[in-house]
Every structure is written in structure tokens, then in C-alpha cells.
């Protein structure tokens, strides 16, 4: 019954999206203007219906209703409740339904509150939202119905992929996903602006909160995903340049560029065509990301998400949406005037420079990700890894980070470097000193070396915009920028330190052995079999002492799941302010000794702490923008109210 309700809601939502598209498009013409009035209400109801469908699926998963095929394939009655809930979106159909739900709700919200844009641009925007959503509705209803029944009803479900049965992973994909979907709202604003040629500050201001929100979710999602890969895969690394990681990084790079160029457009009415282009690129990257993950066209650690047939469907959607948008761009962009001019040395100049650098890094990552495919088309099998990505990325990241330190100190339109020289001397000196100091410490690679020096300089420089300000009166968006830039410095410091100073030990240990790693002494106390709800494991009990201090008990595990059968390793971490101890237990050798891998990673947690700070910066900026929007709306209402009274 619930499944049928969900399916009915989904069909209705799709029908309303079709109505929204037709009414929105006709509303743009001279004769169809009477239809324009229905577009906003329809958008709201469409979003609510999608929500009903998604809620129905959540209920089915929580009840473990095995008569529904999707539940039987992806859930199991023995699973802990939180993973039953996460099972809703931990599969293809559910995640697509989540996509249309978020997009529908966001569209409905825009339809309700957005009044700054000209009505024609709003119609085009909402028609665009309906068009994109319709593609996904068709996808769900035609090729991946989440509510399909199963007859006969199986006695037990198949379970969720063991690697996914982890609390971090129950929330990492939906966070990223929210980023992907919310960026689609920025995309439809860009389309609306292009169609009606209304590319100006109003468009940038309407789009900006959505870009900020998407960017925040992407940041947090990537950070969480990286930490998950770090402790769950048990390889000791935190970023592997895996195609699927790249697929999440590319939209982030594009969204970062878009965020900054939208700020220029909102404040200075410059960079018009470029901002629209980035809006299209950011959404393309999120769809390309979904496509790469789902199609399995590139092999990766995310192999559980693969399905070639669905890949073709997503590719078709991608071709229609992005191909259409880029065609529109080619047709219209020449009629979008350039907007205000500015000097090279100015806030805009710095932002443009960083935009170009971000785009270059994006191009490098995209090329590196697709290169194996290109090579395969030519008959060779290759894989591209850190030796390509690290130096090539750094080539553009280093100048970008330097300009990032200076940019926020510059004035809009035109400035002189000599004006801010006083403020720059301190961080510049700091950079040089750090470089020299580390040169003496030596034995570290060139990239970590540059990274450490830059991180120090950037951390200081990022705080300089607060100098001379009343901290309580500083607007939230400025705080957001400062916190986010500082977060980048913190994260960079963690990365450089992790890569420069990590110590690794690979040992075969007997019970009772003491293993040194960096400043730690780790003793293997015993190894026991333990059992969880749907797995068994060999669990090691170890005592770790930091420089002879009090022992900390840790329990790394080698886990074996039986539905479906799979081995995973649960690493054990000890986090201190100055780093992390990382322990993995492997297999037992024939002579009875256990394989152990131990790492001491100085300041490694800073990588993710920095990521969270960046996300917090995004949140602060978003709150600041939303608050000022709300103030403007309430002020407008007051004025309208007064006028009405005076009229009487």
C-alpha cells in the first residue's frame, strides 16, 4: 500500500513537472502569459509530491518490507536501524529519488520566496527546473522504479554492501549528493538568465545562496569521504586520485570558481558570461560525477555503484541537459555584454586569476580522470595516479594560493600593491622563514616543503582582512571568507605534514611483542574473535604509549561480513593534538605471527579539520547572505504596508 502511494506520488510529480515546463515556456511568449500564474504553485506542489514519494520509500526501508524489490535487494532484517534508514539512499533508485526530491523542494522554495528576479527570468528558471527534473522522473519511472514489488516475497534480504555499513558512509554520499543537486539550482538560474538575457547583479544575488549551500555540502561531503577512505579502507592514505574522488572534487573546483565569480557579478556587475558559463560547468561536473560513479566506465574503489545500462541513461540526460545548455550559451553569450571594466591589480583581478587557476586545475583533474578512457579507445591500458596529479595540480595551486593570500586585501576596481605592502611584509617574511627553517630540517620532498611554507603564510594572511575592523560588527560573509581561507591553510598544513613526516611500520608480531612507530610504543596484547550483528572479526587488543606515557587501549579488527561475504579492515586511531596513530591488523601468517601496519601521522587530522573549517566558512557566509535577504524582504513589506495605509 505504501509502495503504491509512493509510486502514485511519483507519477503525479512527473505530470506536474511536465505542466510546469509547458506553462513556464508558454508564459514567456506574448500569447501564453495567462499561464504564467500557475507556474509557481505547480512548482511547490511538485516538490511536495516528490517528498511524499521519498518518505514512502524511507518507511518501506525502516519496516524492511521485503515485498518491495529494492528493499529486498539492499536491506536485511538483521541490520541495525540506522543502516536500514541509510539503505534508502545507499542504492541507485533511492539516490535518484533523493535527487528529484531535493531538486523539487529547492525549486518549490525558489518559487515561494524569490522575488528579486524579473518575472520572465523566474518563469524561464522554473521551466528549466521542470525540464531537468523531468529527465530524472523519466529515468526513475521507466528504467529504475524504486517501488517495484517482488513475487514471491523472499524470506530475507540481500543486505547492504559491507563497506557501506559504516556510520560515516551512511551520511557522506547524501551530503555530497545534496551538493550535486543544489548546484543544479544554480544551473537553472543561469539558464533562466541566459534565456531572458537578464545576466546581472540580481541574477548573481539570487543564485549566490544556492552556490554557497552547494559548495558547503560538497566541501563537507568530500571531507567526510576522504576521512572514510582513510580509516575504512585501511590503506593509510586519505586521497587516492580515484576517479570517483575526482568526480566529487571537480564539481567542488567549479563551484569554488562560480562562488567567487558570482561575488564579482553581484558586487561589481562584471564577469557576466564567465559566471553563466561556470554555472553550466559546475552542474555538468556534478552530472559527469554521477555518470562516472554509476556507469562503471572507470574502475574504482566505488565498484559497488556500477551498472552500465543506467550509465547510458545518465549519459543521455547529461547530453540533453548540458549539450542544450552549452548550445544556448553559444547562441546567447555573444549578446551578453561584458559588464564593468577593472584593472589587473584589483579585487576583481585577483578573483579572475584564481578563477582561471581553479579552472586549470579542474581541466587537469578532468583530463587525468578521462585519460585512461582515451588511452583505451586507442588500444592501451593505463592508469593515472599521483605522479601526474600532484605536480600538475601544484603547478596551478601554488600561484593560486599566493594570490589567495593577497586578493582579499585589495580594493575593488583598481588598487596598488604598494598600498598593502605593509600588511604583506609579515606573512611574506613568515613564508620565507618557514621555508628556510624547513630547508634545514631537510629530508622532505619539494611539494610538502612548499606546502608547509605556503600554509604558514596563508594562515596569517587569511586573518589580515579582519585587521582594523570591529570584530562584532564585521559582516558574516567577511567572517565566512576569513574562516574558509584559514581552513584551506589548516588543511594544507595537514596535507604537507602528513606527506612529509609520516612514519610507517609493517611488522609481523606475536602476542606480547612491542612495536615502535615514531614516538609511540605499541604492544600487541591479545587477539580474539568477536561477532557483530552481521559480521565476525579477529580483533586485536593493543596498548599504545606516547613517549612512555599512559597506555591507550585500541582495537583494530579484520572483519568478515557474510551477507554479502566480504572482508574489510577496521583500523584503530588514536588522535592527539599533534597527530594520529593509525593501526591495522591483517592476516595471520603460517608461523602464527600477525601482520600489523602502524603509522604515525603528525598533524594529519588537520586535513579534515581544515575541510570542516572551510565548510563552516561557507555556512557563515550563507547565513549572512540569507539574513540580509530576509532584512530586505521585511523592509520591502514594511514600505508596502505604509504606502497602503497612506493610500487610505
Amino acid at each position: 500500500m505504501i509502495a503504491e502511494l509512493g509510486l502514485a506520488a511519483l507519477w503525479l510529480a512527473a505530470a506536474l513537472a511536465a505542466l510546469q515546463l509547458i506553462a513556464g515556456s508558454l508564459g514567456l511568449t506574448a500569447r501564453g502569459q495567462t499561464l504564467a500564474g500557475v507556474v509557481r504553485p505547480v512548482a511547490v506542489v511538485q516538490g511536495l509530491l516528490a517528498l511524499v514519494a521519498f518518505a514512502a520509500l524511507v518507511v518501506l526501508f525502516c519496516q524492511t518490507d521485503l515485498s518491495v524489490k529494492l528493499v529486498a535487494m539492499n536491506s536485511h532484517s538483521a541490520k541495525p536501524f540506522i543502516f536500514k534508514l541509510a539503505g534508502t539512499w545507499g542504492n541507485h533508485e533511492g539516490s535518484m529519488l533523493l535527487w528529484v526530491t531535493v531538486m523539487g523542494l529547492a525549486g518549490g522554495f525558489v518559487a515561494l520566496v524569490e522575488r528579486r528576479l524579473p518575472e520572465r527570468a523566474m518563469l524561464a528558471t522554473l521551466a528549466g527546473q521542470a525540464f531537468v527534473s523531468l529527465g530524472f522522473y523519466a529515468f526513475l519511472l521507466i528504467s529504475s522504479n524504486p517501488f517495484e514489488r517482488l513475487n514471491p516475497v523472499p524470506a530475507e534480504g540481500q543486505g547492504l554492501h559491507p563497506l557501506l555499513q559504516d556510520i560515516g558512509l551512511a551520511f557522506h554520499p547524501p551530503t555530497l549528493y545534496l551538493g550535486y543537486v543544489v548546484i543544479s539550482i544554480a544551473f537553472i538560474f543561469a539558464i533562466g538568465a541566459l534565456v531572458t538575457r537578464e545576466v546581472g547583479p540580481a541574477f548573481a544575488r539570487a543564485m549566490r545562496p544556492w552556490v554557497l549551500g552547494a559548495w558547503m555540502f560538497l566541501t563537507v561531503g568530500i571531507t567526510a569521504g576522504s576521512y572514510w577512505a582513510y580509516y575504512e579502507l585501511g590503506w593509510g592514505g586519505w586521497w587516492f586520485w580515484d576517479p570517483v574522488e575526482n568526480a566529487s572534487l571537480m564539481p567542488w573546483l567549479a563551484a569554488t570558481a562560480l562562488l567567487h565569480s558570482a561575488s564579482v557579478l553581484a558586487a561589481r556587475n562584471a564577469l557576466r558570461a564567465w559566471t553563466v558559463m561556470l554555472g553550466v560547468v559546475a552542474f555538468s561536473m556534478s552530472m559527469v560525477g554521477t555518470f562516472l560513479v554509476r556507469s562503471g566506465i572507470l574502475t574504482s574503489v566505488h565498484a559497488f555503484a556500477v551498472d552500465p545500462e543506467r550509465g547510458s541513461f545518465i549519459l543521455a540526460l547529461l547530453a540533453i541537459n548540458i549539450g542544450g545548455a552549452l548550445t544556448l550559451f553559444g547562441l546567447r553569450a555573444s549578446s551578453v555584454t561584458e559588464g564593468e571594466r577593472f584593472a589587473v591589480v584589483s579585487r576583481e583581478g585577483a578573483l579572475v586569476f584564481n578563477n582561471v587557476m581553479l579552472s586549470a586545475i579542474l581541466g587537469i583533474v578532468l583530463f587525468g580522470t578521462l585519460y585512461p578512457l582515451l588511452a583505451e579507445a586507442m588500444g592501451a591500458k593505463v592508469s593515472v595516479g599521483p605522479p601526474y596529479f600532484n605536480p600538475m595540480g601544484a603547478l596551478f595551486a601554488v600561484p593560486m594560493l599566493i594570490v589567495m593570500a593577497v586578493g582579499p586585501l585589495l580594493r575593488w576596481r583598481r588598487d596598488r600593491l604598494s598600498r598593502i605592502r605593509g600588511g604583506l611584509i609579515v606573512p611574506a617574511l613568515r613564508v620565507v622563514l618557514a621555508g628556510v627553517g624547513l630547508g634545514i630540517a631537510a629530508h622532505i620532498g619539494l611539494l610538502p616543503h612548499i606546502g608547509l611554507a605556503l600554509a604558514g603564510g596563508l594562515a596569517l594572511a587569511s586573518l589580515l582582512p579582519l585587521r582594523g575592523r570591529n570584530l562584532l560588527r564585521t559582516p558574516l560573509p567577511v567572517w565566512g571568507m576569513v574562516v574558509a581561507h584559514f581552513g584551506i591553510a589548516v588543511s594544507l598544513f595537514g596535507m604537507a605534514s602528513e606527506s612529509a613526516f609520516s612514519v610507517e611500520q609493517l611488522v609481523a608480531a606475536r602476542v606480547g611483542d612491542v612495536m615502535p612507530v615514531g614516538p609511540w610504543q605499541v604492544r600487541l596484547d591479545r587477539i580474539d574473535p568477536v561477532a557483530g550483528p552481521n559480521w565476525t572479526a579477529m580483533e586485536a587488543r593493543m596498548y599504545a604509549r606516547y613517549q612512555g606515557g599512559a597506555p591507550v587501549e585500541i582495537h583494530p579488527q579484520a572483519r568478515f561480513f557474510w551477507t554479502p561475504p566480504q572482508q574489510t579492515s577496521e583500523s584503530a586511531l588514536v588522535t592527539r593534538w599533534n597527530g594520529q596513530l593509525y593501526a591495522v591488523v591483517g592476516d595471520q601468517a603460517e608461523d602464527g605471527r600477525w601482520q600489523m601496519r602502524l603509522w604515525w601521522k603528525p598533524f594529519a587530522p588537520m586535513i579534515w579539520l581544515g575541510g570542516l573549517l572551510v565548510g563552516l566558512g561557507g555556512l557563515l557566509a550563507l547565513l549572512g547572505r540569507v539574513a540580509s535577504d530576509l532584512r530586505r524582504i521585511s523592509a520591502r513589506h514594511k514600505i508596502a504596508f505604509r504606502r497602503e495605509r497612506q493610500g487610505r
Binding site: 564567465w274 555538468s284 548540458i322 553569450a333 579507445a377 561475504p565
Partner: protein, 184 residues
């Protein structure tokens, strides 16, 4: 962003993103249409069995060592576990193979004797010998990634074929054919 003196170049550049995108779509289309080679081939095929010596998993069958695969006819090495549901699914097919005179040696992965005994009582016991592998050492040494898996071992103790997953009824002839091939 800057300039725009030569309008023609600018116009042309506006179509560049679309051209790049078309290139991307073309590339992935080739990738999708090409029948991908997704078979997992064990690197151990053609190599001798790695050395092992396992204690008996249940009292009424002997344990298993690599030396017992040498001489006579080709044999099957079946990796299973009492907690593995596909293993129960494949049991009738193993029985059918055993009835046709195939010698099947089993390895029980991370199991308890009473569980193995109960499993065999329920699903039949086609095994000549059953070794107990409590730490998956054979699994790793032989390049197996899960249960069940079945290996065809020829009379010289060389691994000739790896069957991943349960043997379905229609795959029994395939296994017999691989055993015949291994006789040569």
C-alpha cells in the same frame, strides 16, 4: 573577459565548450559500447597449489594438505563455509559431481566443527576430505576473494580453472568439461 577587439575569435570561442563536451560524450560512448573485459582471472591459474596443511574440519573426514592433490585424476577444491548461503545453494550440484565420480576436497573457512557438521547433515556431504582454514590463509594464497569458489586441480597439483561463486545446475557440464581438459 578582457578586450573583445576581434569579434570573430570571441564568437568562435563561445562554441568551444560545446565542442569539448561533444568530444567527452563521444569518448564515453566508445567506452560504454566496447564490450568491457570484466572477468576476474586468477593469477594463480597454471601455477602449482601453494603449500598448506590443514587440520580436519569435522571428525569423520580427514584434513587436507596440498600433497594430496598429486597423482590419480584431476580433483576439485571447493572453498565453502557453513555461514555462507550460496554454499547451501550449490550443494546439490556438488553432490551430482561427486556421484559422477569426481573427487571433491573441501576447505571450510572460519568455521566451527559443529556448524560444519550441521551444514553437511542438512545439505549432504560430497567431500572426500575437509580442511579447516580458520584465518583464510588458503583463500589468500590461492587468489580467492570469497565463498564459495571451486578450483579444478590437475593430477600434477596445478591449478587449471577457477570458478567464482556458486556452481549453478546448468554449470555442472562446464565443470566436468574443465575436469576433462585437466586430464591432458
Amino acid at each position: 573577459m578582457s578586450g573583445g577587439t576581434d569579434r570573430k575569435t570571441v564568437r568562435w570561442a563561445l562554441w568551444l565548450p560545446l565542442a569539448l563536451f561533444a568530444g567527452f560524450v563521444g569518448l564515453v560512448l566508445i567506452g560504454l559500447l566496447r564490450p568491457a573485459d570484466r572477468e576476474v582471472a586468477s593469477a594463480m591459474i597454471g601455477k602449482p597449489l601453494p603449500p598448506f596443511d590443514l587440520r580436519a574440519a569435522i571428525p569423520d573426514r580427514p584434513g587436507l594438505a596440498h600433497a594430496q592433490f598429486v597423482g590419480g585424476k584431476p580433483r576439485l577444491l571447493n572453498i565453502f563455509a557453513s555461514w555462507c548461503i550460496p554454499c547451501a545453494v550449490e550443494a546439490p550440484q556438488l553432490d551430482a559431481l561427486a556421484r559422477q565420480g569426481v573427487e571433491i576436497n573441501g576447505v571450510a573457512i572460519r568455521d566451527r566443527p559443529e556448524d560444519v557438521a550441521a551444514f553437511l547433515a542438512r545439505n549432504g556431504n560430497p567431500f572426500a576430505r575437509i580442511g579447516a582454514d580458520d584465518v583464510s590463509q588458503i583463500q589468500l594464497a590461492i587468489g580467492s576473494s570469497g565463498v564459495p569458489e571451486t578450483f579444478v586441480i590437475d593430477a600434477k597439483g596445478t591449478i587449471r580453472y577457477q570458478h567464482i561463486g556458486e556452481i549453478r545446475p546448468d554449470q555442472v557440464p562446464l565443470i566436468l568439461e574443465k575436469l576433462k581438459e585437466a586430464e591432458q
